[in-house]
Amino acid sequence: MMDDDLRQLGGVLRDRAAEVPQVQDVPPTMVARARRRVARNTVVFVLGAAVIVVGASAGLATLGAQHGPRVAIPGDSGSSAPSTACAAPDLRAEVSLGGAMGSVEGSIRLTNVGGATCTLSGRPTVSIFSSQGHEVVLQVTASEPQWQADGAPEPAGWPVVSLRPGSAASVRVRWSNACPQLSGPASWKLDLGNGGGTLDVSGAGASLVPPCNGPSEPSTLEVGPFEPRAGA
């Protein structure tokens, strides 16, 4: 596009933008929605804090019963309740992807199929393999969680995600520029980290492959941290 065209496009954008008048009034419905949201966040925060206090108290009481009288001192990490990290056999991994402007993006859903509550935290290692079984060379970058991208409030307990049996966590992914172009469908694997083990990822769109738009540029994979599944 020539510079003249670019200038003309800039002029078009400015003229269209000028159609929007200055704001004089604050919509009452928006203020009411905002107040409800703040109130809800406050309730969630208070409830979360209460759960933590009750849980810590219960943990201290249990430790006290097991080991006799114990004096809790600030910063004493031994006084916190133990948590069980999720392991690969506890989880089922499904990816849901769609094509988006030269990339495929979506999320990996991790469902607790075990019988006990377990926790996930941090960011998993995600690998992609060609239909011939060769691992695709990827430049992996960390992306923000979906809740942050959406401007949503920080989930309770973040960055630890607690999964009751049957509930699910999510990991945001976006794969771009699959170069050299893969000839067949791809398959995904997810390593939980911290010795949790590796999961095969199934699901709709797992075989989607983005186009090779820049042969001289690396294939990139953006991976978000574990986060509570929206609506879960």
Binding site: L9, V23, V26, D150
Partner: protein, 177 residues
């Protein structure tokens, strides 16, 4: 200079809604303009901006740097516009619909080149459109756009370049037609 940081000197101390109301009066117009350029729909733009303010309402206490608000707002508006098209799958439907129908956006069936540019822009994929609007209208540097879109600056260059190329093809084909 950010386009969202406007009306800094406006008298906004006596508005309903407290601090949120002040920020709305100060920033909503520019945010709506950005959303309008991204969506091509005035009503949708206003709805998205109100949604953005509601989302940000719970975070005002965390915005210790008042100057950071317009960056938060811009990012939220862009994310909401992207989410809208992704969630509703409106873009795909819209593309197929507009391929067969006369102009959708614009008040009059003006066949002038400026209207063709506007209509062509609205037919671009949302990420290309967003990159072009942030670079050309908001005049943001590539690294800021990359930060908002969650990609590398090289990807922003590619998005803008491919978007402008598609726009040129669109305008040319309309000129030919």
């Amino acid at each position: 200079m950010s386009r969202l940081a406007t009306r800094e000197d406006a008298d906004v101390t006596d508005v309903p809604g407290g601090r949120l109301g002040e920020l709305y009066v100060r920033h909503a117009a520019e945010a709506t303009r950005l959303a309008y350029l991204l969506t091509g729909d005035r009503q949708l733009a206003e709805d998205l901006v109100q949604d953005a303010f509601v989302k940000l309402a719970g975070r005002l206490v965390h915005l210790r740097d008042p100057g950071a608000f317009d960056a938060y707002l811009r990012r939220t508006v862009v994310n909401l516009a992207n989410s809208h098209f992704r969630r509703k799958r409106v873009e795909r439907t819209y593309l197929s619909r507009t391929a067969a129908e006369p102009p959708v956006f614009g008040e009059a069936p003006d066949t002038g080149r400026r209207d063709e540019l506007w209509k062509g822009l609205q037919r671009l994929p949302i990420r290309q459109r967003t990159a072009i609007v942030l670079r050309v209208y908001e005049d943001l540097p590539e690294d800021r756009v990359a930060d908002i879109l969650g990609c590398r600056p090289g990807t922003v260059r590619s998005l803008v370049s491919r978007g402008l190329a598609e726009l040129r093809v669109h305008v040319r084909s309309d000129d030919d037609g």
